[in-house]
Symmetry: D3
Subunit: 167 residues, 6 copies
């Protein structure tokens, strides 16, 4: 039980995600933060942007590596020789979807186990979509995301003019 995978779209990574990665990094020898390259939902950030932002956020965690993957998560996990998937559960509607996905994954790959963890209660209601919605309307998201992610959101929604105006 040395390596665990924490997968997601991370569009963008929130402090709730970071809280979970940090907890996982404290329990496992190595954590692979696996960014979904292609997604059924269209993303705000490209996979390259999401990889770069995520790498910057988790830099302080020495035993966390960031990677991207395509196809099924269980195929990626098998390829990496990993048997443990970490999922965060924030609330009920979350759990519903997570429950179905984990049971489906178990049917497809019985040797892989999904472990659920709770984020800190101060981050438990934060989601990427809420963060994007607040940022799109000009709200302050500094309490929900890391500074680099905040700047990236600012650039997306303000056409990059922020960087210039601060020169």
């Amino acid at each position: 039980m040395q390596t665990a995978i924490y997968a997601g779209t991370f569009d963008p990574m929130t402090l709730g995600h970071f809280d979970l990665v940090e907890r996982s990094a404290g329990l496992f020898e190595r954590v692979i933060l696996a960014v979904v390259a292609t997604s059924s939902k269209s993303t705000l950030f490209s996979v390259e942007e999401r990889l770069a932002l995520t790498r910057e956020v988790v830099k302080p965690l020495a035993n966390v590596v960031v990677d991207a993957f395509e196809g099924l998560l269980i195929d990626y996990a098998r390829h990496q020789g990993v048997r443990v998937l970490i999922r965060g559960v924030r609330a009920y509607s979350d759990f519903e979807y997570e429950f179905r996905m984990a049971l489906t994954n178990r049917k497809l790959a019985p040797e892989i186990e999904t472990l659920f963890m709770m984020p800190s209660e101060t981050q438990s209601y934060v989601s990427s979509s809420l963060v994007k919605e607040v940022a799109a309307r000009g709200g302050d998201v500094s309490m929900f995301v890391a500074p680099g992610v905040q700047r990236a959101l600012w650039s997306k929604f303000r056409g990059g003019s922020h960087d210039h105006s601060s020169e």
Copy 2:
């Protein structure tokens, strides 16, 4: 605690919405019914149409004013000097989203409080999207929306031919 804001997309206003506005108008000196001008969801009715329909429906309530707003609801509330937001809770899945949104708003604007109210149980399952779905398939929505909204839905889904045929 003299003024409260009841915000939403109102695409279109249902009798469930009206029930909540009426209850709020009985508790507060003044209620601002705030129509979200821009929405992440594409709306059936334009913001002008939604304002007009909503104004017509709440006309009997003397202490209710209808307004549109852009950006974050808490910024609008601050601008109006209002500290109370009213939200309806119809059922569980509702509450989940409402809970997250209210906690996010509280983080962004701690001085503003969200109060949740229940609509009448006879309207508790009605939603704008259900109403649109029924109307789009030719169903009778007179039990779920006010007459003016019903006519507007009819025009949308029947290409306005209804008005002519009744001449």
Copy 3:
């Protein structure tokens, strides 16, 4: 109580759907499996494809007929002279939507009753969208759908090359 309608998009039919149809066919003299012809959600399979796939899957059930319908389900049921609608409930989020829809249908057509049934627990987490997501990513869906549906999914996501390669 001789005939019941089991309606859905069936995009595509899963073994969870089949489980419910089989149970219904054991309780009612006749079951109409009613495929929604037009849907607010865009479907992967055309209505003709969904009819063909569904007919193939339920062929072993002598008292099940497959049909397509447009408009409101309750109008279709009235037209068929049927007073019982069958719905499956897999889990909570399901039930929420089903609950609202059933109460709306009851308001529109008080003489029609909705009966809820549970699929087998081994199929209770399977949904058409999960199946499509797994198939789109190259996963094996043979445990979730009938062989004909599996081939159809394969053709959709592999451009039909599968049929040629097996010649």
Copy 4:
């Protein structure tokens, strides 16, 4: 599918229960209203009282018979030659328990099917325990139970003095 069983503690029967029995009686040739004789919960009314009250309430429904049973419901159903159990679902927490019980029953008796029905939304929040709580505190329960049940509750909580005072 001629006979269905609707079982419960009925301590006491509410108008929500009656609503469900009435709907069932409209769908099935015969409905057995099966009163649980022994219960893990201690009841306010004895099984004889519950039988008498229930019989009085359902008297207008010609095809409903009231009976008591001990032991497992599925054993009673088998003994009666009945394959359909009716359960009401009022809300989420209900459904959770009902779901587990129905899956357990299916494991014990695969030939018996549980069908769930929704009570009228105007009765959907009424429960026997809520009714007893309101009555115990001197509240008016005439909107939630039949007149005979109301008198019985009155006698229980007022020591039968009601009958004398009305002489």
Copy 5:
């Protein structure tokens, strides 16, 4: 809308309760904290103890008065001339019960409205029963209750020996 009632068993009052009273006191001119004198659940603290502990906790809030009541909450509210009831919602299972209770109260007293508020997310999972369970097993509850309540719990579960040992 000058006075609101916040009722409960308060066995004992938690910091989650206090958070809600404080929020209510900021919105309403006067808040009556109404302690249920008799309860269907047997309480750890007598009503006198609960009144004393609660009074001590809310002393800093000038516009909050503490009172006890018997019978139905709506009868107490009517007697006090109050039209607003405040309820906290911590999570789903909470809301379910609250929803039913509020709809029942509305049926019994249509002129009285129930407003739901959310406690701070850092207190959202605290409940009186959890606090009692932790205290009974010798755990530290200083993060969940006020100092006076902590001392009272200590006395209950340690036979008052704590006070002597600290002399």
Copy 6:
């Protein structure tokens, strides 16, 4: 992350519990199955009986030890030097309670993490109380518990006469 604790009342152990222990034993070097010695709920089996039954059931799992504990679980975990608690989540109402308990434990012992796992879907609805209810009414529980537990239930509810009658 070599040792994990899976705690519970185990009154009695079900196949759902066993499924979780088996999964945990496959992921961790050592699993302590910790039986709650004293419980707020009165138990059917004494702690000695529960220990004996549980030990018999998990005998095939070489890296699982069975122990009893009093007081707070986190105090026991600290005493054992264990930082990981395993909890099963069967469904929504479960998760609600588990969520609160885990957040409370985290507040009391931030260095201890709770990991949630799903039992097999074929065991997901089984609970100790359901098993006891079925057994008390004379039902067959062989699909829900191990043979030894089944015999123990039989003895409890049939006064031990079963052992004699089989001689």
